[in-house]
């Protein structure tokens, strides 16, 4: 196996194209190194993207954030401006692994590893984040909900790299939140995860919302029906009950040792309501 750590996207894309499908992108390595050790993946070239400036920075341009795909969890947690604008995305970053894991783990890696339980993904989808992608055929953009397709599978073509995530301008009176259910508080995998992002008008009416669920299907789901339950309401108890029902209805989970189908469906409803309450509180403050 060859190791390369190019300093530019051009060089990285060329290395990946030349290796023809046998190369892997290395970000934090907190998924990939474990899979390599278990012989689940055997790349011939490893392209470390951590020296590529565009992927490593959180940039703000005219009120819009661009989050580099190779920014680590700890770096996100320490960025004050980003915390103020997108606390729900930070909630997701904070929940991943331990301090040690967050020292390496990136949003790009969490998304492209394509675990349905990935904790960064629901809040990014709820935020309406757009992935900027570069590959052998140039640049393109795609909504985050279109990247992971099934466990371990993505819609990325061979040699494509997720460069960064473009976030929309943060409206006044908007807020987001991510909650997950796990048996333990730290170092565990989500049984259900819910991201909610909403905006209020001056009268406190919900004018926009997005709701995303993790770990209840083969990939994270954007649930329009759940968002519709909030839009046009004051996010009162009736709206939250409708949100909860819509979230549960959207689940198509599996049974496994961490939770049965019935349990996941019920918990998705409960967590959606709780996450919406937190997002509402943040919107009212902001």
């Amino acid at each position: 196996m060859r190791y390369e750590a190019p300093a530019s996207l051009d060089a990285a894309t060329r290395l990946l194209a030349d290796a023809g499908g046998a190369a892997r992108v290395l970000a934090g390595g907190t998924d990939l190194l474990i899979q390599m050790r278990a012989d689940l993946v055997e790349p011939t070239v490893l392209v470390d993207v951590k020296n590529i400036a565009e992927m490593r920075e959180i940039a703000e341009e005219g009120g819009r954030f661009r989050l580099g795909a190779a920014v680590t969890g700890m770096e996100i947690m320490e960025h004050e401006g980003f915390n103020a604008a997108w606390p729900g995305i930070v909630d997701g970053a904070k929940l991943i692994g331990s301090i040690q894991i967050r020292g390496g783990a990136t949003r790009g890696g969490n998304l492209c590893n394509a675990s349905p339980a990935a904790d960064s993904v629901p809040a990014l989808i709820a935020a309406d984040a757009i992935a900027r992608i570069i590959g052998p055929d140039g640049r393109r953009a795609a909504p985050v909900e279109d990247i992971a397709t099934a466990p371990g599978r993505t819609s990325l073509a061979a040699g494509e790299i997720v460069v960064s995530f473009d976030l929309p301008e943060r409206e006044p009176r908007s807020g987001d939140a991510y909650l997950r259910f796990t048996p333990r508080t730290e170092m565990d995998i989500a049984v259900v995860g819910v991201g909610v992002n909403l905006a209020l008008d001056e009268a406190g009416m919900c004018v926009a919302a997005r709701v995303a669920l993790g770990a209840v299907a083969e990939r994270a789901l954007l649930v329009d029906e759940a968002a519709a339950a909030l839009i046009g309401t004051r996010v009162d108890d009736a709206a939250l009950a409708a949100l909860s029902a819509a979230a549960s209805a959207a689940c198509r989970p599996i049974d496994d040792k961490r939770g049965t189908k019935e349990f996941r469906i019920e918990v998705a409803g409960v967590l959606a309501e709780r996450a919406a309450r937190i997002a509402l509180e943040r919107a009212e403050q902001g």
Partner: protein
């Protein structure tokens, strides 16, 4: 056949050169190439924290970092903690509070605790417990470790 890579890095303040395989972890480089065996291997999968080191000041699991990745970086390990014969306050307090039994988790816990106190000289018990959640100990039950870290923090704030 794996390619061998020449890596130049700083370990505990000293410039160090080593050769490693492209898939060799930093943990393996430290223990097998540099014969610095203070850093321990527990799980090899990021779960136990026994292999904790800092890379450019960031606490990480050295079992999840490749040796080739630390080229040009600054690595700090448990071997850099004591000043000659003088123990670091954290090491002293771990002894005083009997915060270790078998000791396999101790280097990782000390390195992780130092990283905490560098950022937060006055952590609450909850902050200590959350920060150390990635370091497993099968022997002590954690309580004495948390007390030792709090006590070391107190002492370090006074000097």
């Amino acid at each position: 056949m794996m390619a061998r890579y020449h890596v130049t890095t700083t370990v505990n303040g000293d410039e160090v050169d080593f050769l490693c395989e492209s898939d060799q972890t930093l943990l393996s480089v430290l223990r097998d190439e540099l014969v610095m065996t203070g850093t321990k291997e527990g799980c090899g999968t990021g779960d136990c924290g026994a292999c904790s080191v800092t890379v450019d000041g960031r606490l990480m699991c050295s079992c999840l970092v490749l040796g080739v990745e630390v080229d040009g970086k600054e690595v700090e390990t448990i071997e850099g903690m004591a000043d000659g014969e003088a123990l670091h306050p954290l090491q002293q307090k771990f002894l005083e509070h009997a915060a270790l039994q078998c000791g396999i988790c101790t280097p990782g816990l000390l390195v992780a605790s130092r990283a905490l106190l560098e950022r937060n000289p006055d952590p609450t018990e909850t902050e200590i417990r959350y920060w150390l959640a990635g370091n497993l100990c099968r022997c002590t039950g954690y309580h004495k470790i948390v007390e030792a870290v709090a006590d070391a923090a107190r002492e370090m704030r006074e000097v």
